[in-house]
């Protein structure tokens, strides 16, 4: 259970890292430096948690789930914060990822 939470946390940190990366590309001088430090911190957390989760999960499973959570999170951020449209194809792909993650947990 704790390993599953760590893996989920790693995916969340990954999404945060991508948000920070976007902000960094738009900011200047001192703000850029602060964002850069934040970027190292978020990706550092993400990879540490991923490494911890790998104590329990197979390498390939952990990596695929981590990538999946990152993609789902990116869509969620786009819909909630940037007012992107949510449509049928997106829903299908989201379902595919979530379904596969659950199945990987079961087999």
């Amino acid at each position: 259970m704790i390993y599953s939470i760590a893996l989920f946390g790693a995916g969340v940190c990954e999404v945060l890292g991508v948000i920070v990366l976007n902000q960094m590309s738009r900011s200047k001088s001192i703000a850029k430096l602060l964002n850069f430090i934040l970027l190292i911190a978020t990706f550092g957390c993400s990879l540490s948690l991923l490494g911890y989760a790998m104590n329990e999960f197979a390498m390939s499973v952990a990596y695929a789930v981590w990538t999946g959570i990152g993609a789902v999170g990116a869509v969620a951020v786009g819909v909630v914060f940037n007012g992107e449209k949510f449509n049928i194809p997106k829903a299908v792909y989201l379902f595919l990822i979530i379904f596969s993650v659950i199945m990987l947990k079961l087999i």
């Binding site: 790998m54 390498m59 390939s60 992107e84 997106k90 990822i97 990987l104 087999i107």
Partner: protein, 108 residues
């Protein structure tokens, strides 16, 4: 398709698989440092491939090859440890990748 871009994607995906392996099996300070360096290398290769390819193409290939290499590394590791390979696992991993790439495309 630019050959230079493709080259950096393959190099980056190789680094990606190496750091995943490092995360799983590293258990000494020096190995942790090596893993961190590999993460930086994969990130740099990824950035370099953007010079020659569009972001969506580079991302797609990066995730695709990265996952294939990681699954490959795991199969080889399992083979040497005489563990069995779960085909169901590979199937669901493929489904996750299809989902990830589909989401990326629908967002573009």
């Amino acid at each position: 398709m630019s050959n230079k871009g493709f080259f950096w994607v393959i190099v980056g995906a190789t680094f990606e698989a190496s750091w995943a392996y490092g995360l799983k099996y590293a258990n000494a300070p020096l190995e942790w440092i090596a893993t961190a360096i590999l993460v930086c290398c994969s990130f740099l290769s990824f950035m370099l491939s953007f010079k020659y390819l569009s972001v969506s193409v580079a991302y797609t290939m990066f995730i695709g090859f990265g996952t294939i290499f990681i699954v490959g590394a795991e199969i080889i590791t399992n083979y040497f440890n005489n563990d069995s390979i779960s085909f169901l696992r590979i199937l669901f991993i493929l489904l996750i990748i299809i989902g990830v790439l589909g989401l990326k495309r629908s967002q573009a």
